[in-house]
Protein backbone atom coordinates (compact mmCIF):
# COMPACT_ATOMS: atom_id res chain seq x y z
CA UNK A 1 0.00 0.00 0.00
CA UNK A 2 2.78 2.40 0.94
CA UNK A 3 6.36 2.26 -0.31
CA UNK A 4 8.95 4.67 1.00
CA UNK A 5 12.31 4.64 -0.74
CA UNK A 6 15.50 6.45 0.29
CA UNK A 7 13.52 9.25 1.93
CA UNK A 8 15.45 12.37 2.92
CA UNK A 9 14.04 15.31 4.90
CA UNK A 10 15.97 18.39 6.00
CA UNK A 11 15.22 21.25 8.37
CA UNK A 12 17.38 23.95 6.86
CA UNK A 13 20.97 22.70 7.08
CA UNK A 14 20.10 19.80 9.34
CA UNK A 15 19.28 16.54 7.67
CA UNK A 16 16.83 14.85 10.02
CA UNK A 17 16.02 11.92 7.76
CA UNK A 18 19.05 10.70 5.83
CA UNK A 19 17.96 7.44 4.25
CA UNK A 20 14.71 5.82 5.28
CA UNK A 21 13.08 3.01 3.31
CA UNK A 22 10.19 0.83 4.35
CA UNK A 23 6.97 -0.72 3.14
CA UNK A 24 3.51 -0.92 4.60
CA UNK A 25 1.51 -3.80 3.10
CA UNK A 26 -2.27 -3.39 2.93
CA UNK A 27 -4.20 -4.60 5.97
CA UNK A 28 -1.17 -4.86 8.25
CA UNK A 29 0.14 -2.96 11.25
CA UNK A 30 3.68 -1.71 10.73
CA UNK A 31 5.60 0.06 13.45
CA UNK A 32 8.58 2.37 13.38
CA UNK A 33 10.44 2.30 16.67
CA UNK A 34 13.40 4.34 17.76
CA UNK A 35 14.78 6.70 20.38
CA UNK A 36 14.15 10.42 20.71
CA UNK A 37 15.44 12.28 17.68
CA UNK A 38 15.68 9.19 15.50
CA UNK A 39 13.34 10.83 12.98
CA UNK A 40 10.12 8.95 13.60
CA UNK A 41 7.83 11.97 13.74
CA UNK A 42 9.59 13.65 10.83
CA UNK A 43 9.08 10.53 8.73
CA UNK A 44 5.35 10.55 9.47
CA UNK A 45 5.08 14.27 8.78
CA UNK A 46 6.74 13.75 5.41
CA UNK A 47 4.31 10.95 4.58
CA UNK A 48 1.26 13.10 5.21
CA UNK A 49 2.75 16.11 3.42
CA UNK A 50 3.44 18.29 6.46
CA UNK A 51 7.17 18.28 5.63
CA UNK A 52 8.73 18.40 2.19
CA UNK A 53 10.96 15.49 1.29
CA UNK A 54 14.33 16.65 -0.04
CA UNK A 55 15.00 13.31 -1.66
CA UNK A 56 13.63 9.85 -2.26
CA UNK A 57 10.10 8.84 -3.07
CA UNK A 58 6.81 8.05 -1.36
CA UNK A 59 4.42 5.86 -3.32
CA UNK A 60 0.89 5.35 -1.99
CA UNK A 61 -1.45 2.92 -3.75
CA UNK A 62 0.80 2.99 -6.79
CA UNK A 63 0.76 6.78 -6.99
CA UNK A 64 3.81 8.94 -6.36
CA UNK A 65 2.75 11.38 -3.63
CA UNK A 66 6.17 12.90 -2.88
CA UNK A 67 5.80 16.65 -2.42
CA UNK A 68 2.00 16.68 -2.27
CA UNK A 69 0.32 19.01 0.22
CA UNK A 70 -1.20 17.58 3.39
CA UNK A 71 -4.80 18.64 2.83
CA UNK A 72 -4.78 16.99 -0.58
CA UNK A 73 -3.57 13.66 0.77
CA UNK A 74 -6.57 13.40 3.09
CA UNK A 75 -8.80 12.82 0.09
CA UNK A 76 -6.44 10.12 -1.20
CA UNK A 77 -6.93 8.11 1.97
CA UNK A 78 -4.18 9.02 4.42
CA UNK A 79 -5.27 10.11 7.88
CA UNK A 80 -2.75 11.22 10.42
CA UNK A 81 -3.12 11.42 14.20
CA UNK A 82 -0.37 13.91 15.03
CA UNK A 83 1.94 13.84 18.01
CA UNK A 84 0.38 15.70 20.93
CA UNK A 85 -3.21 15.07 19.78
CA UNK A 86 -3.87 18.60 18.49
CA UNK A 87 -7.58 18.58 19.23
CA UNK A 88 -9.70 21.72 18.68
CA UNK A 89 -9.78 23.05 22.27
CA UNK A 90 -12.74 25.47 22.23
CA UNK A 91 -15.03 23.30 20.13
CA UNK A 92 -17.10 20.52 21.62
CA UNK A 93 -16.11 16.88 21.20
CA UNK A 94 -18.96 16.46 18.73
CA UNK A 95 -17.78 19.46 16.69
CA UNK A 96 -14.24 18.09 16.75
CA UNK A 97 -15.52 14.94 15.11
CA UNK A 98 -17.77 16.80 12.66
CA UNK A 99 -14.88 18.97 11.53
CA UNK A 100 -12.75 15.86 11.00
CA UNK A 101 -15.27 14.86 8.35
CA UNK A 102 -14.88 18.20 6.59
CA UNK A 103 -13.84 16.66 3.26
CA UNK A 104 -16.55 13.99 3.35
CA UNK A 105 -19.36 15.25 1.12
CA UNK A 106 -21.96 12.81 2.42
CA UNK A 107 -22.90 14.08 5.88
CA UNK A 108 -24.85 10.88 6.62
CA UNK A 109 -21.59 8.98 6.24
CA UNK A 110 -20.01 11.40 8.75
CA UNK A 111 -22.81 10.62 11.23
CA UNK A 112 -22.31 6.89 10.67
CA UNK A 113 -18.58 7.16 11.34
CA UNK A 114 -19.23 9.30 14.42
CA UNK A 115 -21.53 6.59 15.78
CA UNK A 116 -18.74 4.12 15.11
CA UNK A 117 -16.37 6.27 17.17
CA UNK A 118 -18.92 6.60 19.98
CA UNK A 119 -19.37 2.83 20.02
CA UNK A 120 -15.64 2.27 20.15
CA UNK A 121 -14.94 4.93 22.79
CA UNK A 122 -17.90 5.25 25.17
CA UNK A 123 -15.90 7.83 27.13
CA UNK A 124 -15.82 10.09 24.09
CA UNK A 125 -19.58 9.72 23.73
CA UNK A 126 -20.12 10.70 27.37
CA UNK A 127 -18.15 13.86 26.76
CA UNK A 128 -19.76 14.67 23.40
CA UNK A 129 -21.00 18.14 24.36
CA UNK A 130 -17.95 19.07 26.43
CA UNK A 131 -15.24 21.35 25.05
CA UNK A 132 -12.27 19.45 23.66
CA UNK A 133 -9.81 21.37 25.82
CA UNK A 134 -11.49 20.17 29.02
CA UNK A 135 -10.81 16.48 28.32
CA UNK A 136 -8.07 14.55 30.10
CA UNK A 137 -4.99 13.46 28.18
CA UNK A 138 -6.30 9.97 27.59
CA UNK A 139 -9.68 11.18 26.44
CA UNK A 140 -8.01 13.65 24.09
CA UNK A 141 -5.99 10.81 22.59
CA UNK A 142 -9.18 8.80 22.07
CA UNK A 143 -10.79 11.84 20.48
CA UNK A 144 -7.77 12.30 18.22
CA UNK A 145 -7.99 8.67 17.06
CA UNK A 146 -11.77 9.09 16.70
CA UNK A 147 -11.23 12.10 14.50
CA UNK A 148 -9.00 10.07 12.21
CA UNK A 149 -11.74 7.45 11.94
CA UNK A 150 -14.24 10.14 10.89
CA UNK A 151 -11.75 11.58 8.40
CA UNK A 152 -11.59 8.08 7.00
CA UNK A 153 -8.89 6.70 4.78
CA UNK A 154 -7.22 3.39 4.19
CA UNK A 155 -3.94 4.23 5.87
CA UNK A 156 -3.86 5.48 9.44
CA UNK A 157 -0.68 7.16 10.64
CA UNK A 158 -0.37 7.21 14.42
CA UNK A 159 2.30 9.31 16.10
CA UNK A 160 3.09 8.21 19.67
CA UNK A 161 -0.47 7.44 20.76
CA UNK A 162 0.81 6.21 24.14
CA UNK A 163 2.69 9.40 25.01
CA UNK A 164 1.89 10.70 28.49
CA UNK A 165 -0.76 8.11 29.23
CA UNK A 166 -1.18 5.83 32.24
CA UNK A 167 -0.33 2.16 31.50
CA UNK A 168 -4.02 1.12 31.71
CA UNK A 169 -4.94 3.69 29.08
CA UNK A 170 -2.00 2.65 26.91
CA UNK A 171 -3.35 -0.89 26.82
CA UNK A 172 -6.81 0.41 25.94
CA UNK A 173 -5.53 2.58 23.10
CA UNK A 174 -3.47 -0.29 21.67
CA UNK A 175 -6.49 -2.60 21.82
CA UNK A 176 -8.46 -0.06 19.81
CA UNK A 177 -5.68 0.19 17.26
CA UNK A 178 -5.88 -3.56 16.72
CA UNK A 179 -9.67 -3.26 16.43
CA UNK A 180 -9.40 -0.49 13.81
CA UNK A 181 -6.89 -2.60 11.90
CA UNK A 182 -9.19 -5.64 11.97
CA UNK A 183 -11.92 -3.53 10.38
CA UNK A 184 -9.69 -3.07 7.35
CA UNK A 185 -7.56 0.00 8.00
CA UNK A 186 -3.83 -0.32 7.44
CA UNK A 187 -1.85 1.18 10.33
CA UNK A 188 1.57 2.75 10.49
CA UNK A 189 2.45 3.23 14.13
CA UNK A 190 5.32 5.32 15.43
CA UNK A 191 6.22 4.53 19.02
CA UNK A 192 8.81 4.92 21.72
CA UNK A 193 6.98 2.29 23.73
CA UNK A 194 8.64 -0.45 21.67
CA UNK A 195 7.41 -3.39 23.76
CA UNK A 196 3.73 -2.56 23.29
CA UNK A 197 4.17 -1.59 19.66
CA UNK A 198 6.01 -4.82 18.74
CA UNK A 199 3.30 -6.84 20.42
CA UNK A 200 0.53 -5.64 18.08
CA UNK A 201 2.55 -5.05 14.90
CA UNK A 202 3.07 -7.39 11.98
CA UNK A 203 6.28 -5.76 10.76
CA UNK A 204 8.72 -3.44 12.42
CA UNK A 205 11.51 -1.09 11.41
CA UNK A 206 14.08 0.41 13.72
CA UNK A 207 14.99 4.04 13.06
CA UNK A 208 18.37 5.35 14.19
CA UNK A 209 19.51 8.95 13.62
CA UNK A 210 17.81 9.25 10.26
CA UNK A 211 18.40 5.72 8.94
CA UNK A 212 16.30 2.55 8.94
CA UNK A 213 18.71 -0.01 10.39
CA UNK A 214 16.91 -3.19 11.40
CA UNK A 215 13.73 -4.53 9.86
CA UNK A 216 11.62 -7.63 9.73
CA UNK A 217 8.54 -9.33 11.15
CA UNK A 218 7.68 -7.83 14.54
CA UNK A 219 8.22 -11.11 16.39
CA UNK A 220 11.75 -11.48 15.02
CA UNK A 221 12.55 -7.88 15.82
CA UNK A 222 11.31 -8.36 19.37
CA UNK A 223 13.68 -11.31 19.70
CA UNK A 224 16.65 -9.55 18.12
CA UNK A 225 19.32 -9.14 20.82
CA UNK A 226 20.30 -5.65 19.60
CA UNK A 227 16.69 -4.46 19.86
CA UNK A 228 16.18 -6.21 23.19
CA UNK A 229 19.14 -4.44 24.67
CA UNK A 230 18.58 -0.99 23.20
CA UNK A 231 14.79 -0.62 23.16
CA UNK A 232 13.20 -3.24 25.34
CA UNK A 233 15.59 -2.93 28.27
CA UNK A 234 16.01 -6.65 28.85
Amino acid sequence: MLKVKNLKVSYGQIEAIKDVSFEVPAGKIVTLIGANGAGKTTTLRALSGLEKASGGSIVFKGQDITGREAHGLVGLGISHVPEGRKIFPTLTVRENLELAGWTVADKKEVRRRMDEVFAMFPRVKERASQLGGTLSGGEQQMLAVGRAIVTGGELLLLDEPSMGLAPVLVDEIFEKIVEINKRGTTVLLVEQNAAEALEIADFAYVLEVGYTTISGPAKEIAADPRVREAYLGV
Partner: protein, 336 residues
Amino acid sequence: MKHFRTPKLSLYALAFYALIMALSLTGLINGYIQHIINQSLIYVILAVSLNLINGITGQFSLGHMGFAAVGAYVSGAITTLVFKVSPEAGFAGYAVFVGGIVAGGLAAALVGVLIGFPSLRLKGDYLAIVTLGFGEIIKTVLNNIPAVGGPRGLLGIPKFSNFSFIFAAAFLTLVVIRNLVESSHGRALVSIRENELAAELAGVDTTRYKVLAFAVGAFFAGIAGGLFGHLLQIAHPTQYGFMGSVLVLIMVYTGGVGSLTGSVIAAFALTFMSEGLRIVIDSLAEATSLPIGGEWRMVIYALLLVFIMLFRTEGLMGTKEARFLVIGDPAKEGTR
Protein backbone atom coordinates in the same frame (compact mmCIF):
# COMPACT_ATOMS: atom_id res chain seq x y z
CA MET B 1 -30.12 28.35 -0.18
CA LYS B 2 -30.66 27.42 3.42
CA HIS B 3 -27.81 29.65 4.49
CA PHE B 4 -29.47 32.77 3.16
CA ARG B 5 -32.59 32.62 5.32
CA THR B 6 -32.50 35.69 7.45
CA PRO B 7 -36.09 36.40 8.57
CA LYS B 8 -35.40 37.34 12.18
CA LEU B 9 -32.27 39.33 11.53
CA SER B 10 -34.02 41.22 8.71
CA LEU B 11 -37.00 41.90 10.93
CA TYR B 12 -34.92 43.34 13.77
CA ALA B 13 -32.84 45.32 11.33
CA LEU B 14 -35.92 46.77 9.66
CA ALA B 15 -37.40 47.68 13.06
CA PHE B 16 -34.15 49.42 14.05
CA TYR B 17 -34.06 51.30 10.74
CA ALA B 18 -37.70 52.39 11.01
CA LEU B 19 -37.20 53.50 14.62
CA ILE B 20 -34.17 55.64 13.89
CA MET B 21 -35.78 57.11 10.76
CA ALA B 22 -38.95 57.97 12.70
CA LEU B 23 -37.01 59.54 15.56
CA SER B 24 -34.91 61.49 13.12
CA LEU B 25 -37.87 62.76 11.05
CA THR B 26 -39.81 63.84 14.14
CA GLY B 27 -36.72 65.66 15.39
CA LEU B 28 -36.34 63.55 18.52
CA ILE B 29 -32.75 62.82 17.63
CA ASN B 30 -30.72 65.71 16.33
CA GLY B 31 -27.99 65.79 13.75
CA TYR B 32 -25.30 65.22 16.37
CA ILE B 33 -26.85 61.98 17.66
CA GLN B 34 -27.56 60.90 14.10
CA HIS B 35 -23.90 61.41 13.25
CA ILE B 36 -22.84 59.24 16.18
CA ILE B 37 -25.26 56.53 15.08
CA ASN B 38 -23.81 56.69 11.55
CA GLN B 39 -20.30 56.42 12.96
CA SER B 40 -21.34 53.50 15.17
CA LEU B 41 -22.69 51.65 12.15
CA ILE B 42 -19.45 52.18 10.27
CA TYR B 43 -17.60 50.80 13.28
CA VAL B 44 -20.00 47.84 13.21
CA ILE B 45 -18.75 47.07 9.69
CA LEU B 46 -15.12 47.45 10.78
CA ALA B 47 -15.46 45.39 13.97
CA VAL B 48 -17.47 42.58 12.37
CA SER B 49 -15.04 42.30 9.46
CA LEU B 50 -12.01 42.34 11.78
CA ASN B 51 -13.69 39.69 13.91
CA LEU B 52 -13.77 37.45 10.85
CA ILE B 53 -9.96 37.69 10.61
CA ASN B 54 -9.04 37.84 14.32
CA GLY B 55 -11.85 36.09 16.11
CA ILE B 56 -13.14 33.47 13.69
CA THR B 57 -9.95 32.60 11.80
CA GLY B 58 -7.58 33.45 14.66
CA GLN B 59 -5.15 35.51 12.58
CA PHE B 60 -4.07 38.43 14.74
CA SER B 61 -4.24 41.50 12.51
CA LEU B 62 -3.30 45.01 13.59
CA GLY B 63 -3.68 46.76 10.25
CA HIS B 64 -7.42 46.84 9.72
CA MET B 65 -7.58 50.61 9.24
CA GLY B 66 -5.07 50.24 6.41
CA PHE B 67 -7.76 48.42 4.44
CA ALA B 68 -10.27 51.13 5.35
CA ALA B 69 -7.82 53.74 4.07
CA VAL B 70 -7.60 52.00 0.71
CA GLY B 71 -11.40 52.01 0.49
CA ALA B 72 -11.68 55.65 1.53
CA TYR B 73 -9.08 56.89 -0.93
CA VAL B 74 -10.13 54.76 -3.89
CA SER B 75 -13.82 55.61 -3.54
CA GLY B 76 -13.02 59.23 -2.70
CA ALA B 77 -10.80 59.54 -5.76
CA ILE B 78 -13.53 58.07 -7.96
CA THR B 79 -16.30 60.41 -6.79
CA THR B 80 -14.19 63.52 -6.18
CA LEU B 81 -11.36 63.45 -8.72
CA VAL B 82 -12.51 61.25 -11.59
CA PHE B 83 -16.25 61.84 -11.92
CA LYS B 84 -16.50 65.02 -9.83
CA VAL B 85 -20.05 64.20 -8.81
CA SER B 86 -22.13 65.56 -5.96
CA PRO B 87 -25.45 64.47 -4.40
CA GLU B 88 -27.15 67.20 -6.47
CA ALA B 89 -26.43 65.09 -9.55
CA GLY B 90 -29.25 62.85 -8.43
CA PHE B 91 -29.36 59.21 -9.42
CA ALA B 92 -26.22 59.32 -11.58
CA GLY B 93 -24.28 60.80 -8.67
CA TYR B 94 -25.42 58.11 -6.29
CA ALA B 95 -24.66 55.42 -8.87
CA VAL B 96 -21.07 56.67 -9.07
CA PHE B 97 -20.94 56.77 -5.25
CA VAL B 98 -22.10 53.17 -4.87
CA GLY B 99 -19.77 52.05 -7.67
CA GLY B 100 -16.92 53.93 -5.99
CA ILE B 101 -17.61 52.31 -2.63
CA VAL B 102 -17.65 48.83 -4.17
CA ALA B 103 -14.46 49.60 -6.11
CA GLY B 104 -12.87 50.77 -2.85
CA GLY B 105 -13.90 47.49 -1.21
CA LEU B 106 -12.45 45.46 -4.06
CA ALA B 107 -9.18 47.39 -3.96
CA ALA B 108 -8.96 46.78 -0.23
CA ALA B 109 -9.67 43.07 -0.80
CA LEU B 110 -6.78 42.94 -3.25
CA VAL B 111 -4.50 44.47 -0.62
CA GLY B 112 -5.98 41.98 1.86
CA VAL B 113 -4.87 39.10 -0.35
CA LEU B 114 -1.36 40.58 -0.49
CA ILE B 115 -1.30 40.83 3.32
CA GLY B 116 -2.78 37.37 3.59
CA PHE B 117 0.33 35.84 2.07
CA PRO B 118 2.78 36.69 4.86
CA SER B 119 0.19 35.36 7.27
CA LEU B 120 0.64 31.94 5.71
CA ARG B 121 3.99 31.58 7.40
CA LEU B 122 3.60 33.75 10.49
CA LYS B 123 1.60 33.32 13.64
CA GLY B 124 0.52 35.35 16.65
CA ASP B 125 2.82 38.20 17.62
CA TYR B 126 4.86 37.96 14.43
CA LEU B 127 1.80 38.26 12.23
CA ALA B 128 0.59 41.19 14.34
CA ILE B 129 3.86 43.02 13.67
CA VAL B 130 3.71 42.36 9.93
CA THR B 131 0.09 43.55 9.64
CA LEU B 132 0.96 46.59 11.76
CA GLY B 133 3.78 47.33 9.33
CA PHE B 134 1.48 46.92 6.35
CA GLY B 135 -1.01 49.35 7.84
CA GLU B 136 1.71 51.93 8.37
CA ILE B 137 3.06 51.39 4.84
CA ILE B 138 -0.36 52.12 3.37
CA LYS B 139 -0.58 55.28 5.48
CA THR B 140 2.90 56.39 4.43
CA VAL B 141 2.26 55.70 0.76
CA LEU B 142 -0.94 57.78 0.90
CA ASN B 143 1.00 60.54 2.63
CA ASN B 144 3.28 60.71 -0.40
CA ILE B 145 0.86 60.71 -3.30
CA PRO B 146 0.24 64.37 -4.20
CA ALA B 147 -2.64 63.41 -6.53
CA VAL B 148 -4.77 62.49 -3.51
CA GLY B 149 -3.62 65.41 -1.39
CA GLY B 150 -0.56 63.91 0.27
CA PRO B 151 -0.29 64.83 3.96
CA ARG B 152 -3.12 67.37 3.54
CA GLY B 153 -5.53 64.53 2.79
CA LEU B 154 -8.15 64.15 0.10
CA LEU B 155 -10.44 67.14 0.59
CA GLY B 156 -13.86 68.05 -0.74
CA ILE B 157 -15.30 64.56 -0.89
CA PRO B 158 -19.03 64.95 -1.55
CA LYS B 159 -21.29 63.98 1.35
CA PHE B 160 -23.01 60.96 -0.10
CA SER B 161 -23.04 58.82 3.03
CA ASN B 162 -26.28 59.03 4.93
CA PHE B 163 -28.00 56.85 7.49
CA SER B 164 -29.79 54.72 4.88
CA PHE B 165 -26.64 53.86 2.93
CA ILE B 166 -24.54 53.20 6.00
CA PHE B 167 -27.29 51.12 7.56
CA ALA B 168 -27.71 49.04 4.39
CA ALA B 169 -23.97 48.42 4.21
CA ALA B 170 -23.76 47.41 7.87
CA PHE B 171 -26.72 45.06 7.45
CA LEU B 172 -25.23 43.44 4.35
CA THR B 173 -21.88 43.03 6.08
CA LEU B 174 -23.51 41.28 9.00
CA VAL B 175 -25.58 39.00 6.76
CA VAL B 176 -22.69 38.05 4.48
CA ILE B 177 -20.19 37.41 7.28
CA ARG B 178 -22.75 35.59 9.41
CA ASN B 179 -23.61 33.33 6.46
CA LEU B 180 -19.95 32.75 5.72
CA VAL B 181 -19.24 31.80 9.33
CA GLU B 182 -22.15 29.38 9.46
CA SER B 183 -21.29 27.72 6.15
CA SER B 184 -18.84 24.85 5.80
CA HIS B 185 -16.26 27.46 4.72
CA GLY B 186 -16.81 29.04 8.12
CA ARG B 187 -16.11 25.74 9.83
CA ALA B 188 -12.83 25.59 7.94
CA LEU B 189 -11.93 29.10 9.21
CA VAL B 190 -12.76 28.11 12.80
CA SER B 191 -10.65 24.96 12.51
CA ILE B 192 -7.65 27.10 11.53
CA ARG B 193 -8.14 29.21 14.66
CA GLU B 194 -8.45 26.11 16.83
CA ASN B 195 -5.43 24.23 15.51
CA GLU B 196 -3.91 24.84 12.14
CA LEU B 197 -2.11 21.50 11.94
CA ALA B 198 -5.23 19.52 12.79
CA ALA B 199 -7.20 21.61 10.27
CA GLU B 200 -4.73 20.71 7.54
CA LEU B 201 -4.94 17.03 8.53
CA ALA B 202 -8.75 17.20 8.33
CA GLY B 203 -8.29 18.20 4.70
CA VAL B 204 -8.72 21.98 5.01
CA ASP B 205 -6.60 23.99 2.57
CA THR B 206 -5.43 26.33 5.33
CA THR B 207 -3.50 28.58 2.96
CA ARG B 208 -6.50 29.26 0.79
CA TYR B 209 -8.81 29.88 3.75
CA LYS B 210 -6.49 32.29 5.50
CA VAL B 211 -6.25 34.36 2.32
CA LEU B 212 -10.04 34.17 1.98
CA ALA B 213 -10.52 35.52 5.51
CA PHE B 214 -8.17 38.42 4.83
CA ALA B 215 -9.79 39.18 1.48
CA VAL B 216 -13.37 39.21 2.81
CA GLY B 217 -12.41 41.10 5.98
CA ALA B 218 -10.49 43.68 3.95
CA PHE B 219 -13.32 44.06 1.44
CA PHE B 220 -15.77 45.15 4.13
CA ALA B 221 -13.17 47.34 5.84
CA GLY B 222 -12.72 49.05 2.46
CA ILE B 223 -16.48 49.59 2.24
CA ALA B 224 -16.43 51.10 5.74
CA GLY B 225 -13.54 53.37 4.77
CA GLY B 226 -15.41 54.58 1.70
CA LEU B 227 -18.51 55.36 3.75
CA PHE B 228 -16.37 57.17 6.32
CA GLY B 229 -14.77 59.33 3.66
CA HIS B 230 -18.13 60.30 2.21
CA LEU B 231 -19.50 61.01 5.70
CA LEU B 232 -16.67 63.18 7.02
CA GLN B 233 -15.98 64.59 3.52
CA ILE B 234 -12.28 64.06 3.97
CA ALA B 235 -9.84 61.18 3.78
CA HIS B 236 -6.72 61.91 5.78
CA PRO B 237 -3.76 59.56 6.31
CA THR B 238 -3.77 60.09 10.09
CA GLN B 239 -7.38 58.88 10.38
CA TYR B 240 -6.25 55.45 9.32
CA GLY B 241 -3.20 54.90 11.47
CA PHE B 242 -2.32 52.40 14.10
CA MET B 243 -4.57 53.92 16.79
CA GLY B 244 -7.60 53.53 14.57
CA SER B 245 -6.83 49.86 14.05
CA VAL B 246 -6.37 49.43 17.79
CA LEU B 247 -9.77 51.02 18.44
CA VAL B 248 -11.44 48.47 16.16
CA LEU B 249 -9.45 45.70 17.81
CA ILE B 250 -10.64 46.90 21.23
CA MET B 251 -14.21 46.69 19.96
CA VAL B 252 -13.66 43.10 18.86
CA TYR B 253 -12.17 42.16 22.23
CA THR B 254 -14.67 44.00 24.45
CA GLY B 255 -17.51 42.51 22.42
CA GLY B 256 -16.07 39.03 22.56
CA VAL B 257 -13.62 37.43 20.17
CA GLY B 258 -15.55 35.27 17.73
CA SER B 259 -18.96 36.77 18.55
CA LEU B 260 -20.42 38.92 15.78
CA THR B 261 -23.19 40.04 18.13
CA GLY B 262 -20.52 41.22 20.56
CA SER B 263 -18.80 43.25 17.84
CA VAL B 264 -22.08 45.00 16.97
CA ILE B 265 -22.80 45.82 20.61
CA ALA B 266 -19.25 46.97 21.32
CA ALA B 267 -19.12 49.16 18.21
CA PHE B 268 -22.22 51.02 19.39
CA ALA B 269 -21.30 51.04 23.08
CA LEU B 270 -17.75 52.32 22.64
CA THR B 271 -18.66 54.95 20.05
CA PHE B 272 -21.45 56.27 22.26
CA MET B 273 -19.30 55.99 25.39
CA SER B 274 -16.52 57.98 23.79
CA GLU B 275 -18.94 60.78 22.89
CA GLY B 276 -21.07 60.49 26.02
CA LEU B 277 -18.05 61.04 28.23
CA ARG B 278 -17.68 64.54 26.78
CA ILE B 279 -21.11 65.43 28.13
CA VAL B 280 -20.48 63.66 31.44
CA ILE B 281 -17.19 65.48 32.00
CA ASP B 282 -18.56 68.87 30.99
CA SER B 283 -21.51 68.61 33.32
CA LEU B 284 -19.33 67.20 36.07
CA ALA B 285 -16.92 70.11 35.77
CA GLU B 286 -19.82 72.56 35.87
CA ALA B 287 -21.56 70.96 38.82
CA THR B 288 -18.51 70.52 41.03
CA SER B 289 -16.33 73.33 39.71
CA LEU B 290 -13.45 70.86 39.72
CA PRO B 291 -10.67 71.63 37.26
CA ILE B 292 -11.38 68.69 34.95
CA GLY B 293 -11.51 69.22 31.22
CA GLY B 294 -11.89 67.31 28.01
CA GLU B 295 -8.47 65.70 28.39
CA TRP B 296 -9.96 63.47 31.11
CA ARG B 297 -12.31 61.87 28.63
CA MET B 298 -9.78 59.35 27.36
CA VAL B 299 -8.53 58.62 30.88
CA ILE B 300 -12.00 57.53 31.95
CA TYR B 301 -12.55 55.74 28.65
CA ALA B 302 -9.35 53.76 29.15
CA LEU B 303 -10.23 52.99 32.77
CA LEU B 304 -13.63 51.65 31.71
CA LEU B 305 -11.91 49.38 29.19
CA VAL B 306 -9.53 48.11 31.85
CA PHE B 307 -12.49 47.29 34.09
CA ILE B 308 -14.38 45.50 31.32
CA MET B 309 -11.33 43.37 30.56
CA LEU B 310 -10.63 42.65 34.24
CA PHE B 311 -14.14 41.59 35.10
CA ARG B 312 -15.20 40.14 31.79
CA THR B 313 -12.06 38.86 30.10
CA GLU B 314 -13.98 36.95 27.44
CA GLY B 315 -15.71 40.18 26.34
CA LEU B 316 -19.31 41.25 26.75
CA MET B 317 -20.71 38.34 24.76
CA GLY B 318 -17.92 35.79 25.10
CA THR B 319 -18.28 33.58 22.05
CA LYS B 320 -22.08 33.58 22.21
CA GLU B 321 -24.33 34.90 19.49
CA ALA B 322 -27.76 36.47 19.78
CA ARG B 323 -30.33 33.96 18.64
CA PHE B 324 -31.37 35.93 15.55
CA LEU B 325 -27.80 35.72 14.31
CA VAL B 326 -27.77 31.93 14.36
CA ILE B 327 -29.12 30.09 11.36
CA GLY B 328 -31.27 27.02 11.88
CA ASP B 329 -30.79 24.98 15.04
CA PRO B 330 -31.05 27.20 18.14
CA ALA B 331 -29.13 24.53 20.06
CA LYS B 332 -26.05 25.59 18.11
CA GLU B 333 -26.08 28.87 19.93
CA GLY B 334 -22.86 29.65 21.71
CA THR B 335 -20.96 26.68 20.43
CA ARG B 336 -18.55 28.59 18.35
